[in-house]
Amino acid sequence: MEQSLEQLYLEHSNRIYRYIFLQVRQKELAEDLTQETFYRAFKSIHSFNKQASMSTWLLKIARNATYDHFRRKRIIQFFGFGKGELEDSNASLPEDKLVKKDEASRLYKALSTLKKDHQDVLILRKINESSIKETAYVLGWTETKVKSTMARAFAALKKEMYRMEGNNG
């Protein structure tokens, strides 16, 4: 059993880490929440009922762990998700920056300005490449809500990207 839990971790942890990192934008915090995710997962692995794939199930736990973290800090109400974290000193360490000075970092920045629902759906659909059904499962939404939010999120993202382009000349 232990062997397989370890394998589970090795197989999935990078993907979970990436998902969490894109939301919290701090390396150490992302590691902590990744640990929390796997800890919770191992604890309730017996209740994993194959309703979703293992990786989707883990994403859902990761989402809850991240959400709990933000909720504890009451960031949700006061800053909107993530925005406050971007200015955090940790976030500007060089290794935390992804790809500097190109579109990806622009997108990275633009994402952080969006509201949490929009970030959620974009990260899952576009970066994790989850299906609509999987996204609905992870976020606890209906598939219709995923689709409509996705459309709105995309529009908001586009607007933000163009706005940033305008500002930077």
């Binding site: 232990e2 839990l5 370890e6 971790y9 090795l10 942890s13 990078n14 880490y17 990436r18 990192f21 894109l22 390396k27 590691e31 990744t34 640990q35 796997f38 800890y39 919770r40 191992f42 604890k43 309730s44 017996h46 209740s47 994993f48 859902k60 736990i61 989402r63 809850n64 762990a65 959400y67 709990d68 909720r71 504890r72 009451r74 949700i76 109400q77 909107g80 290794e95 992804l98 790809v99 190109d102 579109e103 990806a104 622009r106 997108l107 990275y108 576009k126 970066i127 606890g140 995309f154 993202l157 586009k158 990207m161």
Partner: protein, 260 residues
């Protein structure tokens, strides 16, 4: 919809150091193993607590209701541990993700844990201290991020015909001080003194004043109850939306469903 695909692809390469990855693995395994030994006694003890509680409820509740003296009402029989129960056919189970009942153990926050909450819709009359599951009444405090779930869980604090008042963070029922673990504000189960000792007042979520909430008296009308979530500052309850009509109550929360 294909715009920005390239940029999204680049974001897929989030760097993570191999060391950090392995350290995390060790930590998770250590933490999981440590708990392995603890889980069994934990389950046993909570089950014992439940069994004793059940026994007390059956025997004591009928004969000696909540103790009432001149100045105080004591509810010593409601326990804050969440029992683990076997489902009966009429019960249903739900998931819950709000931390308004958190007493330090993520109480009732089951989402993502695999646990489920057992609700009994057949209970028709409620006692003080009962935890209930209900349709969240319409409520807005002007904060668009409030985002209340469709259903909510809280504890019954005052019953029809009673007058409830909160003075300096203490509940009074019919002008009598209510003594119980839920009659004053807590943060993850810690009371004012315990909480303020552990935090830096500069950036803590709660300061002394927040623990000294006041609410003018209100009389609970027939067909309704007054509910408060155990973690006051995280809870939207009768202090905000007023009396809860019993027509909104879906059932009594019995505990966590025993895992098969």
């Amino acid at each position: 919809m294909n715009d920005f695909d390239g940029e999204f692809n680049k974001l897929k390469d989030v760097k993570r150091s191999e060391d950090a990855r392995m350290i995390s693995l060790k930590k998770v395994m250590a933490r999981s193993n440590k708990k392995k030994f603890n889980i069994l006694p934990l389950v046993f003890s909570s089950f014992t607590v439940f069994a004793v509680g059940l026994f007390l409820m059956m025997t004591v509740k009928e004969d000696t209701p909540v103790v009432e003296s001149g100045k105080t009402i004591i509810d010593a029989q409601t326990v804050h541990e969440v029992p683990i129960v076997e489902l009966t056919p009429r019960m249903f189970t739900v998931e819950y993700e709000v931390d308004n009942m958190d007493r330090g153990d993520h109480d009732y926050e089951t989402l993502g844990t695999g646990r489920r909450i057992a609700v009994d819709p057949g209970v028709l009359d409620f006692h003080r201290g009962d935890v209930i599951y209900f349709t969240t009444p319409e409520y807005s405090n002007g904060n668009s991020g409030l985002n209340l779930p469709e259903h909510y869980i809280s504890r019954v604090v005052a019953l029809p015909g009673e007058k409830i008042e909160i003075k300096k963070g203490q509940i009074f029922i019919d002008d009598k001080k209510l003594k119980s673990f839920y009659s004053y504000p807590t943060v993850r189960g810690r009371n004012k003194e315990e909480y303020l000792k552990t935090v830096n007042p500069e950036n803590s979520a709660m300061n002394e004043e927040d623990f000294e909430e006041n609410m003018e008296s209100i009389v609970v009308s027939k067909g309704s109850v007054f509910v408060i979530g155990d973690q006051w500052w995280r809870s939207i309850d009768s202090r905000h939306f007023g009396l809860l009509s019993l027509s909104k109550v879906e059932g009594k929360v019995i505990g966590y469903r025993m895992e098969q």
